[in-house]
């Protein structure tokens, strides 16, 4: 090619390349077509709808809104003013005024910021008339959450400013907007918040707003937030919180026929109004730093305890299903169960049957350790190898919703632990483990860990004779009952329903039989089936556990109560569970002495002792 032509060719080629590139960015690639939202020539204004209310299952209002008025400032627009008069109106000192003014200037001279937050309604009415005199200041109305009943803080959650991580993920939210951070406020954020309205306003080239952008075709109206009805019975919830005063633990109550959560208590709790408004961050920090009581930690969903004796119910059901026992199979108890040759290999029992034959019913209401150790051994040893036996056992246990997330609509949760053959093979790589090695599983100790909500669900399964509805908190949105498949389709366990009646009978006798472990918690006129439990606690006093459902026929409520360091099942957990059942079914209780003992009883001494013990243990290490 001649050099002249090479030059022509190269120049034309470059021209063509530039035009292709222009075609790409101007015609093809939409990335360079700014939407009205991030076109700086257009002002975007939002119209925030009021957040939906939250009601309990009986239509009691539990979360409402309160108007709040802030004085806002745009420092650049502030004109000389009668500071003295203005300070008197706002009830602040001149020093305060200057401090606040300086602060807002540092934040931004042009962007409005809060000058004085949350005026009282009276101040607002009065000030509103006078604000025109003070250029650069204006009053902005906001709505804040309000909790008239001061209850269920762990369930409801709270709202706060959206964080940066979410801002980059979700394009709906802008810096400084509010969002549900926890609990129902978080889970049902989209329903509750509604949809904010957007107005696009055209600015001219001098940055003055001159009217709706493109005649307002992109503008949207705000949609008001939907009211949400949750499954809680707030009266029962509040009652349970009061019963748990000065005690730590978790309570979950479920309606077995629907899986609706009637109460979800974590103790100690806090007044949800603390996390609203001006004092929010101060209060939050205080609650967050209270590591001993840990009020922000939802024990009903997150605390994992060994389930203790209530777990014997599952072992009995598995044994029946696997046909290694019948209801009539007798075992004998001489103060405990020997599972090995060494003198330490002995599991004590205080059932007091002294070698008389113990059958299923008695095994349950006397909570005989020997009975269940034998039963458990039979399950595992039914199969040629321990691994196979353990797999069968573990699969049965897991079918009760243990050892995994329940997949519910609560904003937090943990899996718990159900051991299986893999776990033990890892534990004992060079050891032939077997039923004896894992004998603690027989009585709900050892490796197994459950949360209160899992145990409550397990109780509901027994009440339903083998099936359950995933426990959930939502009942209605916008007054329409929810239709969520995973909450309305029942799930089955691996146990046939025909094996449940004898177990239920045994649980009935726990309370009804004069020899039952919870006979003191008997409630006149209500047939309660329950099971006491005591979970060993290596750091301090044992935990008190009780599970129950009632009435025996057509159960309306299933409940699990954990009281940390509560000695044994019938001491704290039993009375609290039965009082709640009584309250829920009868609307009132008829055991004032028991009630008073619960209201006034404190386990603070035990918590202090435990704290001291843990500290000493650390020291000696």
């Amino acid at each position: 090619m001649e050099k002249k032509h090479l030059a022509y060719f190269s120049i034309l080629l470059v021209g063509l390349l530039l035009i292709i590139r222009l075609f790409y960015i101007q015609i093809i690639d939409t990335k360079y077509k700014p939407s009205p939202l991030n076109n700086s020539a257009i002002a975007v204004k939002y119209d925030y709808p009021e957040r939906g209310f939250i009601y309990d299952r009986n239509g009691v209002l539990i979360v409402a809104n309160q108007p709040s008025y802030d004085i806002m400032i745009v420092p650049r627009d502030v004109k000389p003013l009668d500071t003295l008069e203005f300070c008197r109106l706002l009830k602040i000192s001149k020093k305060d005024f200057l401090k606040k003014y300086k602060k807002s200037r540092i934040y931004s001279p042009r962007i409005p910021s809060v000058f004085l937050a949350q005026l009282s309604k009276n101040d607002y009415a009065y000030l509103q008339e006078k604000m025109y005199k003070y250029k650069g200041f204006f009053i902005q109305k906001r709505t804040l959450r309000q909790y008239p009943l001061k209850s269920a803080a762990n369930v409801l959650g709270y709202i706060g400013e959206v964080n940066n991580a979410l801002l980059s993920k979700n394009s709906y939210y802008q810096q400084g907007e509010l969002i549900g951070i926890n609990g129902v406020e978080k889970q049902y954020e989209e329903a509750l918040r509604g949809v904010k309205g957007v107005k696009f306003i055209q600015r001219n080239r001098f940055n003055k707003e001159i009217g709706p952008y493109k005649g307002g075709v992109y503008d949207t109206l705000a949609t008001v937030g939907k009211d949400v009805t949750i499954t809680l019975d707030i009266k029962l919830q509040k009652y349970a919180e009061d019963l748990m005063a000065n005690k730590r633990g978790g309570i979950v109550a479920i309606e077995p026929s629907t899986g609706e959560i009637l109460s979800l208590v974590s103790s100690p709790t806090y007044d949800p109004n603390l996390l609203v408004g001006r004092e929010r961050s101060k209060n939050y920090t205080r609650l967050f730093l209270d590591k001993d009581n840990n009020p922000l930690y939802d024990r009903s969903l997150l605390a994992q305890y060994p389930p203790g004796s209530p777990f014997k119910i599952i072992n009995a059901l598995i044994a029946l299903q696997e046909q290694v026992i019948t209801t009539e199979t007798p075992f004998y108890c001489h103060g405990g169960f020997r599972y090995g040759r060494s003198s330490k290999a002995f599991m004590k029992c205080h059932c007091g049957t002294h070698g008389a034959p113990v059958k299923l019913d008695k095994g349950i209401y006397k909570s005989c350790n020997s009975y269940f150790a034998n039963t458990y051994k039979k399950i595992i040893e039914k199969y040629p190898t321990s691994s196979e036996g353990m797999k069968v056992w573990s699969d049965h246990v897991k079918s009760f919703g243990l050892g995994n997330f329940l997949n519910n609509d609560l904003s937090t949760g943990v899996k718990g632990i159900v051991p299986d053959e893999n776990l033990y093979n890892r534990f004992y790589p060079n050891f032939k483990w077997g039923a004896s090695t894992t004998i603690s599983n027989a009585i709900g100790q050892g490796e197994i860990l459950t949360t209160p909500i899992q145990l409550a669900n397990m109780t509901a399964i027994v009440a339903n004779k083998g099936l359950y509805y995933t426990p959930h908190i939502i009942k209605k949105i916008d007054n329409k009952p929810i239709k969520i498949d995973k909450f309305t389709t029942p799930k089955r366990t691996t146990i046939d329903s025909k094996y449940f009646p004898p177990i239920i009978e045994g649980m009935f006798h726990v309370i009804e039989n004069p020899g039952g472990t919870a006979r003191w918690s008997r409630v006149e006129g209500i047939e309660i089936c329950g099971k006491t439990g005591t979970a060993e606690n290596s750091h301090g006093q044992d935990h008190s556990i009780f599970v129950a459902f009632a009435p025996k026929d057509n159960p309306k409520i299933a409940i699990a109560v954990f009281v940390e360091n509560g000695y044994w099942g019938s001491r704290w957990a039993g009375p609290i569970a039965t009082l709640m059942i009584e309250k829920y079914l009868n609307g009132q209780t008829n055991r004032p002495r028991e009630e008073k003992r619960m209201y006034e009883g404190s386990l603070q001494d035990e918590y202090d002792k435990q704290l001291l013990k843990i500290a000493l243990e650390k020291e000696t290490k």
Partner: protein, 425 residues
Amino acid sequence: MRKRQNNIFAGIDWILVLFFIVLIFLGWINIYAASVTNTSGEILDFSTRYGKQIQWIGLSLVLIIIIISIDAKFYERFSGVFYIASMLSLAGLFVFGTSVNGATSWYNLGFSSIQPSEFSKVATALALANFLNEPNRDLSNFKTQLSTFLILLIPAVLITLQPDAGSALIYFSLIFVLYREGLPAYYLIIGFLAIFLFLITLTLGFKSSIIIIFSLITLLIVYLLNTKKFHLNREWPKVLILYAVIGFFLFSVDYVFNNIFEQRHRDRFSIVLGENSDTKGIGYNTNQSMITIGSGGLTGKGFLEGDRTQGSFVPEQDTDYIFSTVGEEWGFIGSSAVIIIFIAFILRIIRVAERQKSKFSRVFGYSIATIFFFHFMINIGMVIGLLPTIGIPLPFFSYGGSSLWGFTILLFIFIRLDADRTYEW
């Protein structure tokens, strides 16, 4: 000697003049759009950028009259003097210059500032033309090559030191003129290869690129061996040297980039190589300019209707980023038209250069074609995100007296030379 002293316009290439008028006009209305504010009034308001530009344009008309009144021979005869004076003015910056945006490229004359590097392009082009015009200049001869490179290298180095690497690049581009005048092609090939290897190293990193390049060379050698035209037992020292040189080059690019370049230099490359999409940081200007251009769509928003231009979202929009105004207000149609006009203009210069009988005029013509072309390509390439941020003006469009005058002088000296082409000097 010339025979028509009474008519200085005889022989003028009116097509080039027409291009000049069109470009100046288009440039000015876009400067107007980019710099008009609510407080500006008259078009001749000299306190505004567009008013000042009108002033520069008016003065450049005077300049044009002077340039074409002078005998063509004058430019050839005094090219050495211009060159030396111009190099002195560049060197003088280090003593008397004023810094703007970190680069000491300006003389502050009180009423106005002057950027000597815009004028040294003229002097260098003249000096180059004059040097190659001498008889016995043979660009395949190493001594001639060395002297020619020196003519380009002196201003390039002085300008790089200001530092204004973008303008310095223009002098290197004149190597294309030398190619036209007989410089062996392998200089260009090596140059392109170096740029290619440079970019490969920056994109893929040292290790990957050396593996890829060495495999390619090995493949090539295997191929050549198969053709039997190449014998390893004779050529092996060359092969070894090839590997060594390329290996060393890749290594030094990697080393220079990572150890000698400052972060801001690296950032500029990273943006173009697509490694850095930080829209608020270093790539902010380019990103804003691309959004602004993209928002123009097919037909644009119309004169003074570009909300992003009017809202001053693109920094330096009336100087280096002036083309984004074209893109927003005149759309794809308008901006393509500007590109076509520029391309036609440069092709016209080459055509006119090719018809010169005197080597001096032809070299000068090619030089200005190259200068215009590289300004055009680098500036628009940067504004639409094809090239790194290199701050050089778009000829006749970007606001600024020095660059307008520099380009005007370049063009009209050439028009003068061309007008005299039929006469024996």
